[in-house]
């Protein structure tokens, strides 16, 4: 939490003086280039945007991970990107690096559609430079028919019982690799204390022989096939809606995180009015609800969520208040290397 404070008040926001933007700019003179995860926006979005906003053109680049997006966005030279989709702590880092255009709320009337909770996220209180797109938490996803007892604690994953030995997976994206142990040990997700991180490391190294594998993307498949019985998972990617109905999700009793994927506008953009118009358009309940229905992630948009019919077993029903129980992950600046190091040290262990 303290990390969050320090970074929101850091050089980024203060240094980046807002451009004067014209509310009535001629959008037909502007084009849009966005970068986003594959499948994270509707395929027909560019077409619709062109029709609705009358921008000259809109193109979509896809990125696979936050990290790759960051590399492209932070490289010298003009990335050519107007709007980027990145997770909260990365938006925070981009802003700290002075790369983001402050959000002009007057150009995004649809901000009003957001849950109030979604305007008070610790990496960017007040949505000064980012607008949330989806949010969720991390927990244990498991096969209810294959576990002898339902997991309740992160320790069930960290020290799997014999029936789950070599049938559990963890994510390696470093902050999420540390999450179960941090929470199990009762530490903050944003700790930069060396002794705490050392303890986390011990726990993870001890866990390693009992793992099936590390897996950031296909853990759902492994559960379905029965190779794994318990996995660390983001809520939306835990296939609880599988017709067989034997996959369940639980947030362990020690607590978990609140992650947010956001939209940001690059300072280098030459189409800032159009960029704002795009974000505003996406916050339209009709458009935004598409994300919840198609990618199974909750959206922080009250109006949108109200349109969604929640299927049986879906985690879309988790309420914002519950989500806020999770600790927001924020960028740790220099100290974030400690987590890289942790990840390296754990995986390098033979």
């Amino acid at each position: 939490a303290c990390g969050g404070e320090s970074s929101t008040s850091s050089e980024g926001t203060t240094a980046a003086a807002a451009d004067q933007l014209k509310p009535n700019a001629d959008l037909s003179q502007q084009t849009l280039q966005i970068t986003v995860w594959d499948g994270y926006t509707p395929a027909e979005l560019p077409q619709k945007v062109k029709e609705k906003l009358h921008v000259k053109d809109m193109k979509v680049t896809l990125h696979d991970t936050n990290e790759i997006a960051m590399t492209k966005l932070t490289a010298p030279g003009d990335s050519g990107i107007d709007v980027a989709f990145v997770s909260g702590q990365y938006a925070q880092a981009l802003n700290a690096a002075g790369l983001l255009e402050p959000i002009h709320p007057e150009l995004i009337p649809n901000l009003a559609n957001l849950y109030p909770e979604a305007t008070q996220l610790s990496y960017d209180k007040g949505n000064k430079y980012s607008v949330p797109y989806t949010w969720g938490t991390t927990g244990i996803c498991y096969r209810s028919d294959l576990v002898k007892s339902e997991p309740k604690s992160w320790n069930d994953l960290l020290k799997p019982p014999s029936w789950a030995d070599k049938k559990v997976t963890m994510m390696t994206t470093e902050r999420w690799l540390a999450l179960p142990a941090l929470k199990a040990l009762g530490y903050s997700l944003n700790t930069d204390k060396d002794d705490e991180i050392a303890k986390v490391k011990d726990a993870l190294v001890a866990q390693k022989p009992h793992l099936l594998t590390y897996d950031d993307t296909t853990f759902g498949e492994k559960l379905k096939s029965g190779e794994a019985v318990m996995v660390e998972a983001w809520d939306g990617w835990c296939p609880t809606t599988d017709p067989k109905g034997n996959i369940k999700f639980v947030v362990p009793k020690e607590g978990s995180d609140l992650w947010v994927d956001t939209m940001v506008i690059m300072k280098s953009s030459k189409n800032k009015e159009a960029a704002h118009a795009l974000i505003n358009y996406i916050l339209d309940p009709e458009i935004h609800s598409w994300a919840a229905e198609n990618i199974n992630y909750k959206v922080p948009n009250k109006a949108a969520m109200e349109r969604v019919t929640i299927p049986k077993g879906s985690l879309l029903g988790i309420k914002p208040a519950e989500l806020l129980n999770g600790e927001s992950i924020i960028d740790l600046g220099q100290a974030s290397t400690k987590y890289t190091r942790l990840s390296t040290e754990v995986t390098a262990q033979q």
Binding site: L62, G77, T217
Partner: protein
């Protein structure tokens, strides 16, 4: 001379090893279910889905453009480089530098080029990837061609010079045909590597273009689906057709040359 039968064991083993996963991919592409592991019945629906996927089609076209362009650059420059290094240079350092792009991790090249293109404020596009792929492909071509130049009998080149051909003409008419199998092997390698290359393409391609590996990489994050298998199968089919057509063309070409 009779060849030892024993040698055919590793020979066939190699092909089985290379094709076993491919066969599995193709079979699973006809899976009616969504699972990558369990075959649930025959279906062509994944091919149907693929047919409507513009991203895949555009990616394929871009990939072929990049592979063809970079192979041309690499084959020409790499062959010249190989001959230059073998015949006109004694510098081991130059030898080593010429091999570096082939052996540096993709990522280092990718980051380097990203920085470089940024520094000179180049607007990225397909061509920036063509140049980047040309870089490592050239190095592969040069290395493969050099394995043929090693110990090569220089008296053929001498004979050509003696008969009045200048260095360039000798190169084209004598050296090049001698090197042909090496050049073909090198070009094949270059084309193949470019078709498959992801990291460098990712960092050097313009924001509006994607190559197939980039498309696939993002499609595959949730694991293999039969749609991706179908894509692999189609790629194989296209490759086989291209190769067979190529064979035919060379045969016709050779027949013509005989006349």
């Amino acid at each position: 001379m009779r060849r030892s039968k024993l040698l055919f064991v590793p020979f066939w083993a190699t092909y089985v090893f290379l094709y076993l996963p491919i066969v599995v991919l193709v079979v699973m592409s006809f899976n009616s279910g969504r699972s990558a592991y369990t075959y649930e019945g025959f279906s062509l629906k994944w091919y149907g889905e693929l047919a409507h996927d513009d991203r895949v089609r555009d990616g394929l076209v871009n990939t072929l453009i990049v592979a063809a362009g970079s192979t041309v650059i690499a084959t020409v420059l790499g062959t010249l480089l190989a001959v230059g290094l073998a015949r006109h240079s004694r510098s081991k350092l130059l030898d080593a530098i010429a091999l570096m792009p082939a052996v540096l991790p993709d990522l280092v090249i990718a980051i380097g080029l990203l920085l470089f293109y940024g520094l000179i404020a180049l607007t990225l596009g397909l061509y920036s990837t063509v140049l980047a792929h040309g870089l490592f492909s050239m190095s592969f071509v040069a290395a493969v061609v050099r394995t043929r130049l090693a110990n090569a009998d220089t008296s053929l080149e001498e004979a050509s010079r003696d008969l009045g051909a200048g260095p360039v003409e000798t190169f084209i008419r004598i050296t090049l045909p001698q090197l042909a199998p090496g050049i073909v092997a090198g070009a094949l390698l270059a084309f193949t590597l470019s078709l498959d290359e992801f990291v460098i393409a990712y960092f050097t391609i313009g924001n509006t273009e994607q190559t197939l590996p980039i498309v696939i990489y993002s499609m595959i994050r949730f694991g293999v689906t039969p749609k991706i298998n179908a894509l692999a199968a189609i790629l194989l089919l296209v490759s086989f057709t291209a190769v067979i057509a190529g064979q035919r063309m060379t045969k016709i070409g050779e027949a013509r040359a005989q006349d």
